[in-house]
């Protein structure tokens, strides 16, 4: 497997220290099952935050707790600097979300669905419905019944519904699921735009390449426990891989494996792929040269988020 990753993450101009979401020791038990354990997260305004994990890791439970659908067993949630307690509607009104997959009334049109939600939220003019439908390119099909929509159109209606209330925090769970490549790109372009509009975006996705492209920071959760939480660029460069071309790959592999500071060595397409600490290329080269093995090629390559994810989660699907 050869992976060459380019990260397009740019510093966000509106990012500041305004913390939109904070979870403190968030825990959820379902009977004996500990779905989420002592989760501490922070999400700042203007930030696109990726929340990753295998199926069943506790992502949707966490989102459910943030949105008040699931009661935490322990811990607390702060939204916009205020602790969420009994009457959390003034805070939740500022949050737009789609969880797992968009769900609307099948017998109503896209427009009518949004109108029903707008009435439930209150204080949303009809012009806003037009605006959000236009933004997700669904205005021309707005009067069609929801159950006649393609999966991609349903996803776009879901995104439109999150924008209805002009939220400061947008929670998107698999927003590009079912979209065609053009639709995926549209949504992928939309997400950073939303964050640049002084909002924060909390993105759950299985598409790690997509997360890598749009997120500023990611947290990885496994069996309810957060196992990584760092800016994307830090995660993908914390372990650097060296790609080495030598004549005798078997002997070179044995030599490198004997070095205590080398994490792993494997052979791919005739190359040695060495997981070594950053800036250790010269040390690796020296170690090989001491055994009269000379590298004809030695290049470094970044680890993709997918590799980091698979390494941290042990490649579990969770199913």
């Amino acid at each position: 497997m050869t992976t060459q990753t380019t990260t397009t993450t740019q510093p966000n101009p509106v990012k500041n220290n305004d913390i939109i979401l904070r979870t403190i020791g968030l825990t959820k038990h379902f009977g004996k099952l500990e779905a989420v354990k002592n989760l501490n997260l922070e999400l700042r305004r203007g930030e696109v935050f990726g929340f990753l994990g295998p199926n069943g890791a506790g992502k949707s439970t966490t989102v459910g707790m943030i949105l008040g659908l699931v009661a935490p067993t322990a811990g607390s949630i702060e939204l916009f600097g205020r602790k969420r307690d009994g009457n959390s509607w003034p805070l939740l009104r500022r949050v737009g979300a789609i969880i797992e997959e968009p769900a609307f009334y099948p017998y109503l049109s896209g427009w009518d669905n949004l109108e029903a939600l707008a009435r439930a939220i209150g204080g949303i003019p009809r012009s806003k419905i037009t605006e959000v439908l236009e933004r997700v390119n669904l205005l021309d099909r707005a009067r069609d019944r929801y159950d006649h929509y393609s999966m991609g159109m349903k996803q776009r209606l879901g995104i439109a519904s999150t924008l209805l209330r002009d939220p400061e925090l947008i929670i998107l769970d698999e927003p590009t699921s079912g979209l065609d490549p053009a639709g995926t790109k549209e949504v992928r372009d939309l997400i950073p735009q939303l964050a640049h509009e002084s909002r924060a975006v909390f993105l759950c996705s299985h598409l790690l390449h997509e997360v890598e492209l749009v997120c500023d920071r990611v947290a990885i959760i496994k069996q309810g426990v957060m196992i990584a939480n760092a800016p994307v660029h830090e995660l993908v460069t914390q372990g650097q891989l060296l790609q080495i071309k030598v004549d005798d790959t078997a002997q070179a592999s044995n030599i490198l494996k004997s070095l205590p500071w080398i994490k792993s060595v494997k052979v791919e397409d005739g190359y040695l792929i060495v997981d070594a600490p950053k800036d250790s290329a010269s040390r690796v080269n020296k170690a090989l040269a001491e055994h009269n093995i000379f590298a004809s090629e030695l290049t470094s390559r970044n680890v993709s988020l997918e590799s980091v994810f698979l390494q941290l989660t042990g490649g579990e699907s969770g199913d």
């Binding site: 949707s60 439970t61 459910g64 949105l67 008040g68 659908l69 699931v70 009661a71 009457n87 509607w89 939740l92 949050v95 979300a97 789609i98 969880i99 997959e101 968009p102 769900a103 609307f104 009334y105 099948p106 939600l117 439930a120 939220i121 209150g122 519904s161 209330r165």
Partner: protein, 271 residues
């Protein structure tokens, strides 16, 4: 769903009236003139509203259970419950709005059912060649029908709210519909056995739903064979007083609503 249920209700009324008209024209010796006279009486205009209400108290219950259980249960089936809850100020208000809107729909369903019954009575009177006579329409008659309308609405509520409760408990329309309707039919059979058993067991039905519903629907003054939507069992029973029935059914209705609200507010929404 609402429209379909309304069509079903009107369809049932039409079929029932036409069947009764057909039966009233067939001379069956063993029935005798009394029963034939009662059938013709039911088809007549003075009995149109009480008879329609009597039918609505049974078939209407079934359809209303389906309506209310679906109104809540389908939110779980379609998974719209999360979408709606995220956009709602509180779970209490959401459930309250559901109940109120379904209550209004049941009211209009009853009203349309009564109108349909009256129209069918006009038609069967015309088809049967009976005389059109509106002398029975007096102030006291209208007042009685007004009261009976609300009595019918009231007796629908326990079963309807029971179906609603089960749809919240089961997080689906199906438990609400099946248990709501199942109890509606099973209870009449079980209470009959209880009466036959005698002793203190015979008094238990006084505190269940069916006898109390019948105690209130009996106030319409229909012939016994046709009371309670023609579900009379043939077993001689002593119904509770209307006051007892009213209080018992009110307690059940309130209990079902309170339990539904409590569970809906307390439980996690994970569907």
């Amino acid at each position: 769903m609402t429209r379909v249920l309304l069509y079903v209700l009107i369809g049932i009324l039409i079929i029932l009236y036409l069947l009764l008209l057909a039966v009233s024209k067939v001379v069956i010796p063993e029935h005798g003139p009394r029963v034939m006279g009662e059938i013709q009486n039911l088809l007549g205009l003075p009995m149109a509203i009480p008879f329609a209400l009597s039918i609505l108290s049974s078939f209407g219950s079934v359809l209303s259970v389906i309506l209310l259980a679906s109104s809540m249960g389908n939110e779980y089936n379609w998974r719209t419950i999360r979408t709606v809850l995220i956009c709602s100020e509180s779970r209490f208000k959401l459930l309250g709005a559901k109940l109120i809107s379904a209550g209004i729909l049941v009211f209009f369903g009853l009203l349309i059912g009564v109108i349909a019954g009256f129209i069918m009575s006009l038609l069967t009177t015309a088809i049967g060649g009976y005389a059109f006579n509106f002398d029975f329409v007096t102030g006291s008659y209208l007042w009685d029908q007004f009261l009976q309308f609300w009595r019918t609405y009231f007796v629908l509520m326990p079963y309807v709210l029971l179906g609603f409760l089960f749809s919240v408990v089961g997080r689906s329309a199906m438990p609400g519909i099946s248990l709501g309707i199942g109890i509606f039919f099973l209870e009449s059979i079980i209470t009959t056995f209880m009466v036959l058993a005698g002793g203190w067991i015979a008094h238990v039905p006084d505190y269940l739903l069916y006898f109390n519903v019948r105690a209130i629907t009996a106030m319409a003054g229909l012939p016994e064979e046709f009371a309670a939507g023609m579900a009379a069992s043939g077993v001689s029973i002593r119904l509770p007083s209307p006051e007892h029935a009213f209080i018992t059914l009110a307690i059940y209705s309130v209990a079902f609503v309170v339990l539904a609200f409590y569970l809906f507010r307390k439980r996690d929404v994970t569907v």
